[in-house]
Subunit: 356 residues, 5 copies
Amino acid sequence: MRNKLVKKRSSKAGLPPGTLVHIGERHREAARVSIIVYDENNITDQASDNLAACATMRGQPGVRWINVEGIHSIELLQKLGECYGLHPLVLEDILNTDQRPKREDYGDYLFIVLRMLSLKSGGEGVASEQMSLILGPDFVISFQEGLAGDPFDPIRERLHTSRGKIRSLGADYLVYSLMDAIVDNYFAILESVAERIERLEEELVDNPSRETVGRLHTLKREIIFLRKSIWPLREVISGLERRESSLVREETVIYLRDVYDHTVQIIDTVETFRDILSGLLDIYLSTISNRTNEVMKVLTIIATLFMPLTFIAGLYGMNFRYMPELNWHWGYPAVLFLMLVIAGGMLKFFRGKNWI
Amino acid sequence: MRNKLVKKRSSKAGLPPGTLVHIGERHREAARVSIIVYDENNITDQASDNLAACATMRGQPGVRWINVEGIHSIELLQKLGECYGLHPLVLEDILNTDQRPKREDYGDYLFIVLRMLSLKSGGEGVASEQMSLILGPDFVISFQEGLAGDPFDPIRERLHTSRGKIRSLGADYLVYSLMDAIVDNYFAILESVAERIERLEEELVDNPSRETVGRLHTLKREIIFLRKSIWPLREVISGLERRESSLVREETVIYLRDVYDHTVQIIDTVETFRDILSGLLDIYLSTISNRTNEVMKVLTIIATLFMPLTFIAGLYGMNFRYMPELNWHWGYPAVLFLMLVIAGGMLKFFRGKNWI
Amino acid sequence: MRNKLVKKRSSKAGLPPGTLVHIGERHREAARVSIIVYDENNITDQASDNLAACATMRGQPGVRWINVEGIHSIELLQKLGECYGLHPLVLEDILNTDQRPKREDYGDYLFIVLRMLSLKSGGEGVASEQMSLILGPDFVISFQEGLAGDPFDPIRERLHTSRGKIRSLGADYLVYSLMDAIVDNYFAILESVAERIERLEEELVDNPSRETVGRLHTLKREIIFLRKSIWPLREVISGLERRESSLVREETVIYLRDVYDHTVQIIDTVETFRDILSGLLDIYLSTISNRTNEVMKVLTIIATLFMPLTFIAGLYGMNFRYMPELNWHWGYPAVLFLMLVIAGGMLKFFRGKNWI
Amino acid sequence: MRNKLVKKRSSKAGLPPGTLVHIGERHREAARVSIIVYDENNITDQASDNLAACATMRGQPGVRWINVEGIHSIELLQKLGECYGLHPLVLEDILNTDQRPKREDYGDYLFIVLRMLSLKSGGEGVASEQMSLILGPDFVISFQEGLAGDPFDPIRERLHTSRGKIRSLGADYLVYSLMDAIVDNYFAILESVAERIERLEEELVDNPSRETVGRLHTLKREIIFLRKSIWPLREVISGLERRESSLVREETVIYLRDVYDHTVQIIDTVETFRDILSGLLDIYLSTISNRTNEVMKVLTIIATLFMPLTFIAGLYGMNFRYMPELNWHWGYPAVLFLMLVIAGGMLKFFRGKNWI
Amino acid sequence: MRNKLVKKRSSKAGLPPGTLVHIGERHREAARVSIIVYDENNITDQASDNLAACATMRGQPGVRWINVEGIHSIELLQKLGECYGLHPLVLEDILNTDQRPKREDYGDYLFIVLRMLSLKSGGEGVASEQMSLILGPDFVISFQEGLAGDPFDPIRERLHTSRGKIRSLGADYLVYSLMDAIVDNYFAILESVAERIERLEEELVDNPSRETVGRLHTLKREIIFLRKSIWPLREVISGLERRESSLVREETVIYLRDVYDHTVQIIDTVETFRDILSGLLDIYLSTISNRTNEVMKVLTIIATLFMPLTFIAGLYGMNFRYMPELNWHWGYPAVLFLMLVIAGGMLKFFRGKNWI
Ligand SMILES: [Mg+2]
Ligand SMILES: [Mg+2]
Ligand SMILES: [Mg+2]
Ligand SMILES: [Mg+2]
Ligand SMILES: [Mg+2]
Ligand SMILES: [Mg+2]
Ligand SMILES: [Mg+2]
Ligand SMILES: [Mg+2]
Ligand SMILES: [Mg+2]
Ligand SMILES: [Mg+2]
Ligand SMILES: [Mg+2]
Ligand SMILES: [Mg+2]
Ligand SMILES: [Mg+2]
Ligand SMILES: [Mg+2]
Ligand SMILES: [Mg+2]
Ligand SMILES: [Mg+2]
Ligand SMILES: [Mg+2]
Ligand SMILES: [Mg+2]
Ligand SMILES: [Mg+2]
Ligand SMILES: [Mg+2]
Ligand SMILES: [Mg+2]
Ligand SMILES: [Mg+2]
Ligand SMILES: [Mg+2]
Ligand SMILES: [Mg+2]
Ligand SMILES: [Mg+2]
Ligand SMILES: [Mg+2]
Ligand SMILES: [Mg+2]
Ligand SMILES: [Mg+2]
Ligand SMILES: [Mg+2]
Ligand SMILES: [Mg+2]
Ligand SMILES: [Mg+2]
């Protein structure tokens, strides 16, 4: 099924800024919260929704990563907001799940919004989920809409096994890692879309059917949505890379440049898809025109061949009493010969026009 | 009914700048003025058009919000202008109701023009009304063209119940609230337009008719007008957010950033609509081509099948005296068989061309 | 008649810069010069071409406005040029009437070129005339190509009646007033073009004919010329407004901002026209496709219905001696019945395809 | 004949920078060198290729203009290069005749590349020649590919007759004069192209033929090349005008601004041509569609009229023994009447559809 | 065969940054390493993959150029990386062979990525290979994917024969030389593409067939890829030219400006190709429309001519007992004459419509 063009948010009209209303679909029953606290030496991982210990937790050494899956529990959000001093406008944006990617600096923390894409089951079609990130000096909070699965398992594993530099670098490196995982995932999406485009390309050349143009439109629409999800990301990351906030450390910049580079590459590819799809429609239309032309030629050849002959036959089918030819002995063969001559002339004319 | 492309303003040609002439339709009989004065502790609300007390009112504590519905009373505007020291060019622009969104700094006050959109009764079509705002140090004056209804009732209610921060912040926050209400309303417009686009999309795939292309054009036209109304708003708000005027306070900036963000999201959505609509026309055209092709095939198959047969029948309907076949005992069955062979050959040819 | 794409200027090739050659049509017999001198208290107006007093006039108090209608008199231009110290390149540009709007600073004076538009008699088509302005510290010289009429009569009247501020402000305000009159006049042009577009829109939906596409092209062409005439004006005025020359006084800026604003609004409208016209062609093409499709259906229905029947009739019109059916008593009614069945089947088939 | 899309330069691949290889066609047998030396009082003109005196010539008073026609003599170029200290990369670029317009500062001298356009004999088609200019403190060297003729004769004459300021100003003014002559020549090219576009416009409306679309494509292609030749010139001249090199004197700037202005006007006109041509194809396509539609209507009217009648005639041409109508006395007139009724009904149906 | 739209890289998702995984095809069995060390007086050249001497090699006088063909040996890359202190992210990018051209400054060295293009065997189609360059103070490392051949043989030769300045200038000049060779090679690619476009242009005008549109699409697709490969190069080189890194010496800048200029010229040409191809499709479509129109005319002429005649013949083939005309002596000749009159009228009608 196609993605909706917009999400219903009229229920929010007129409410004061910072009013918490969930906009979007509810993807899971209860929200799930997981808290990972780590430094170079230790790591603890708890899947709980008991946020009571919040106050005491702040100020402890190490980096805390709080991942929230399913954001419809407004109470939970408010608790987290109080504990980490988040602005009501931030909480509101987390709940409004049709945000475009953006980065907002609130001084003590950065608020980042991304779109997390995944292939719909069945393989055709791309689902989009809002991913909100809070980057504090020693904590990261991530909010997912709650679609099943996320691309962060390899990061969790690296945290536990302490592979790579992830444990020795700060919260900003964790945010980089999350963003990198999301962007890496875009490549998988692009691979799938590319395959569909290539299949369509072959279909168009070999045997375009009526459904082809529908599939073309669906692909175009998806690419419009991909563009909308990915284009603004470029600026989000380039702002981080330029260290516009002091929460981003010098040693993370080189990694942000890498993910920025990937983003540009992805955008380039999406533009390529766009250009190719727009060319495909032109092929389709000219194939249809060609076919109509071919059908017309067959019709014209047949009609042009048989209409004069049928007329002649009709002529000698008339019942006039005085038609001298009818009584000629060689009348019938002569008419047959005349018909052959006419048919031969017609065929020559068609050959001259390159129609046969 | 479609919106007019331009409003008649030729009557104004040659008049000196600052001449007050109302350009646009008169939407209500008499102008209605309401004045709300409030500070953190008190609020008074009077629906009156007695502006006599103007001079004494200025300089009192608290914030004053003067809302004018229906702007065709030039006298009223002049009184307000004198009282609040508004430049004649400002009054002139308020009366010329085909302004594009803009922000002008007159030192003592800011002049802001927005477009207020609403759905026409019947649900299809978007009406547009000019909304002019004056932001002074402790007053806000809003001018509406006077179409029935406005999206400000929730703000009035918040002012009276003192919900949110609205009573404790200044005139600039009130202006933000008005702009936010207008922008929130755009989302409702977009929802309605999105629904119509999606209906059209389905109609095009399922059963495009002659009216479809007319509806497509109407939607395209509306989106051109939406763009024109919304695009310039982006710059208007970003200028406020950058605090180019000292009338905007530090604490309001964070809220302006929020409404700016919504504006960008709305613009993004309008562009998406544009791209999708432009794709829909292509689908329509290829569907029509496809249909013509299909009709042609039916015609060609029938003609190609029956023309040779009819010719043969005509041949043996000729009245020549000496036609030996006519006297053969098996002549008739032989001709029928010949006809069957020809028809079979034709059908095979069509199958080879994938026409049947 | 359509406007020419370019004006002949090959006669000028190779001449040294500043050579005075008139390029364009000669619109009136003799040039007409009018000189208005005014300050807050006095005003004199003389329609004369006696420029002898030039030398003594310079340095007198008040503002002088010299308006020249018809620029083909090179002698006159040279006299004016000497008297006011105009650069030969300025005089050359005044004579080359296919300039695009521009603003050039010659230190002592500003040279401004605008396009003055008017509706051709008959109402369809826009004529364009070059208007060159010299703004000195206390004088304004305006050069018109000499088409009948100009939009400056209200300004002349205001000067004489001293209405508005025009007499108390300087030469720069007079230049503003002239530019404002020209831009106000653009609105009238746009109204006329908008009306023609709307008529075309209705015609396309109701009853497109062969001439429609020609009219569409004429409108497109006119809008291309409008764009070319109006777009550069934006930059001309914004440069004045930013006071890049000291000849523009502080108090005039606010008025220049107003006319700048109008220019932007006009450009916006022209772009809207462009977008709508480009959509109209798409409608036209799909209407034609639709009609062809409809015509084809009628043909196919008729052919598909009658070809098999005619074949059957032909079959029993054959003259074979041994055709048993011909002698059956119920042969004729049976064939009629068969024909009815075939026709009914065909009609059902068409209904299944939604053709009837 | 059409211009080639690219010039063969594969022979140069792998050669070290500054290797001198002529790329392009050889337009004349031997190169022709002319040297004009002038100051305010004297002028000498010699058409020679004896460059031996080079060393002694440098440092003499006055301005030297060395014009080289035909650049395939590598020896000559090397001699000039040594004498005037030109960088090998400059010489290489002079020989590679598919450069785009550019300006390069080598400190002691400026290197400028322009495209010199001329109408091909026969009037249709534009030939392009590379013109390379070296501007030193007191010398100008110009290199032409060697097509017959150049637009500099008026400059030579002005130099000899000392008309205008050309003799009293420096080498930079000479460069300006050359560029001005080239740009003036562009106007002549545009006039010729405009005429062809206008002829095509009329042809399309009156009587489009199969060749029309070919001519349209040829014009489009030429305009693509015009754009490519002229667009970069704008930046070349604006850099000179901004006096990025000290070789350009203050008093020349005002003249450069003039030629810059012409360049912008030319670019504007080329863009107008582009927009109009792109509209013309749309007209062509809709005219063809219209015609096909008209042809189809004629066919459908004829077929729809005669097929039922022919069927009825066929019906009563059947040879069944028992066909009661055949024996009715008024059978024949009744059938004729029935046929008339059917034909009348059909014609009414066509009129209802507005087909006749 | 067409190039793939994207390269499979999903295997990399989730891996920490700097993980070395080869993405792309393996073009040769074993990697080949060649090391050239040179200064103004000496040069040694060894084709080996023994990198053991790495540590001792660093710090020696002269410039070292290490060329690696075939990058799938991760071990080799790691050894090189350790020896020259390359960042893991650099090694990762070298292995991911679908990078867009870019330049990254790592302080001690620059990392540059280019696309190396070559014609596929058979002449149609362009192969693309990633070329990664490391520029250190006294060394250059180049990594090629390993397609057979490279355009660097002339450079190797110049190094050995000491032709040009290559031996006397530093590592940055070597990088320039490599880039120049690659860009020179682009010209050869463009020549081949230009030839194919020109062949297609002629084919379209003379005798467009069904395959034409497929070829057009293939060319369009290739040009999209060319653009993608070449556009970013412009910025890569302009950054080097502006000496953003101190590894680029003053005396190399003039050469980088030259290769920059070539890049701009190539981009210009690719854009020209794009514009021309987009025009070609329009020609194709209008040619098809024209042909269909012509076919339709033949059909309509034949049908319009013979249908009325056949009807008349059918009329007098009816078997009514009482048909007076049948017994008239001049009945048959009269009907023949009537038929002639009708045919003549039809032909006149067609001539009036300019159909014959
Ligand atoms: Mg793009
Ligand atoms: Mg875009
Ligand atoms: Mg792009
Ligand atoms: Mg693009
Ligand atoms: Mg694009
Ligand atoms: Mg593009
Ligand atoms: Mg398009
Ligand atoms: Mg856009
Ligand atoms: Mg867009
Ligand atoms: Mg967009
Ligand atoms: Mg866009
Ligand atoms: Mg388009
Ligand atoms: Mg298009
Ligand atoms: Mg535009
Ligand atoms: Mg536009
Ligand atoms: Mg625009
Ligand atoms: Mg626009
Ligand atoms: Mg636009
Ligand atoms: Mg278009
Ligand atoms: Mg353009
Ligand atoms: Mg354009
Ligand atoms: Mg444009
Ligand atoms: Mg343009
Ligand atoms: Mg333009
Ligand atoms: Mg287009
Ligand atoms: Mg482009
Ligand atoms: Mg372009
Ligand atoms: Mg382009
Ligand atoms: Mg371009
Ligand atoms: Mg271009
Ligand atoms: Mg196009």
